[in-house]
Every structure is written in C-alpha cells, then in structure tokens.
C-alpha cells in the first residue's frame, strides 16, 4: 500500500512538472486570446477531477446507504472535500480567464451558475458533516450527496444542449485544436487526475485513522474509573 502511494506520488510529481512546462512554455500561443488561453490547461483538468471526485462521492454514498459501511462513509467525506478544493479552483480560474476575454469577471450564464450551485451543494455537505453531531448525519449526508450529484451531468451537458456564453467543448464538440495543445492538455488532465487521487487517498487514510482514534478515546473514557477525571 505504502509502495503504491509512493509510486503514485512520484508519477504525479513528474506529470505535474511536465504539465506545467507544457502549459507555460511548450504549448503554442492561441491566436485570438493569446497567453490567457493557457489557463485552459489548469481550468478544464480541475473541473474534470472535481467531477470524478464527486462521482466517487456518489458511489461511496450509495454503498454507505446500502451497507452502512464506515469506510465507504470515510471515502465519501474525503472525495467531497477534495472535490470542493478542485471545484473552487474552477470557480477562481474561470473568472480570471473571463475578465480579459469577455471583459467581465462573472455572468449568470447557465454553466457558470450551475457550477456555483454544485460548489454550494458540496460545501453544504461538508458543513453538515462538520457541525452536525447527530448519529443520523452520515445517512442524511449520503442522501444529500446522491441528490447533489444530479447537478454534475447538468453542469457538463449545459453547454451541449443550451446556448451559453461559456465556450463550447473543443474536444468532441466539433471544434479543432492544435495537436501540441491537445498533448499538453492530456498531460495536465492525467496530472490533475493523479494529484486528485493522491490527495483523496491521503484524506481518506487520515479520516480512517481519526475515527479509530475517536473510538479508542471513547472506549478509554468508558473504562476509566469514576472520579479519576
């Protein structure tokens, strides 16, 4: 297990360095937007990783609802937390790109609004997990996660089915892209996916150990003789 983690960490480090070099130096400059287009190499992979993590959260929540498995619950929490981090990056890098290209930081466009709603749903999920001490919290959170995941396909397909201000997909959307740009994009996609998996793995391990410590503390306080505190 430790070996796999180290291997993944090394692969992630190499891919992130390669991706950064490609995005800032190797990829050709886009003719219309100029250098600001390079934000795409971080923005889109971050969105992809967030979607993958929310999918993991959905799967783990369903497993928890079906089997009441504590590890599935820990994975659901870990994936939601890391997913929110990546979704935050999407919501930060998007407006930074929009300001020079559209002339505005934000518009209540369908995709942008749905992405903000998605972020708010998972932030609510994390707030629920953090501040509710009820024994039913994991179940309520799992139900919220299942309902919240419905927003992911809405965000993804919003630009396919509706005319929005957000750019149409270049890959699979009928557009064309320079092969060197495509190469850099896929390197960053792989890099961010590996990085997301690595951070989620770390957060999951931390959550499992934290729960074991809490159980041990509870057991210890039960075994402690009365009046010793």
């Amino acid at each position: 297990m430790k070996r796999s983690f180290t291997l993944l960490a090394v692969v992630t480090g190499v891919l992130l360095s390669w991706g950064l070099y490609g995005a800032l130096i190797a990829a050709p400059t886009e003719q219309t937007m100029g250098d600001v287009q390079r934000i795409f190499y971080y923005h889109v992979p971050s969105a992809w990783t967030a979607f993958c993590l929310f999918f993991v959260n959905l799967a783990a929540s369903i497993v928890y609802l079906a089997k009441r498995n504590s590890k599935a619950d820990a994975l659901a929490l870990a994936s939601a937390e890391v997913g929110v981090v990546f979704c935050t990056i999407v919501l930060v890098t998007g407006p930074i790109w929009a300001r020079p290209v559209w002339g505005i930081w934000w518009t209540w466009d369908l995709r942008l609004t749905l992405t903000l709603v998605l972020w708010l749903i998972y932030v609510s999920y994390l707030i629920l997990r953090r501040f509710s001490s009820s024994g039913q919290t994991p179940v309520i959170a799992a139900v919220l996660a299942v309902l919240g995941a419905l927003d992911v396909p809405l965000v993804y397909f919003s630009i396919w089915f509706y005319r929005t201000q957000h750019p149409q997909p270049v890959i699979g959307g009928g557009g064309s892209i320079d092969p060197r740009m495509l190469h850099v994009f896929f390197v960053n996609l792989a890099a961010f996916s590996c990085f997301g998996a690595l951070v989620c793995w770390s957060r999951y391990r931390l959550e499992v150990v934290r729960r074991q410590v809490e159980e041990a503390q509870a057991l210890e306080s039960l075994l402690e003789p009365r009046g010793s505190r």
Partner: protein
C-alpha cells in the same frame, strides 16, 4: 500574462493551503495517538 500567472498562482495557493490543513490535522491525530499510547502504559 498577469491574468495567466494570477490563475496559476491561485491554483497552487489553494492546493498548498489545503495540503497545509491536511498536514495540521495529521499532526493533531498523531499527537492524540501518542497520548493514548502514553495512557495505556
């Protein structure tokens, strides 16, 4: 170029802030484990 650097710096600042919070939580759990082990002895 300012917007490009702003986006990349913001990305890594968010990631590093999150990793720092993970590290802080990890250190806290380690301390609690050590405390439990000390009580056991």
């Amino acid at each position: 170029m300012t917007y490009l650097y702003a986006a990349y710096i913001a990305t890594w600042a968010i990631h590093l802030a999150y990793l720092a919070s993970l590290l802080r939580r990890y250190i806290r759990v380690r301390k609690e484990i050590e405390l439990l082990k000390a009580k056991e002895k």
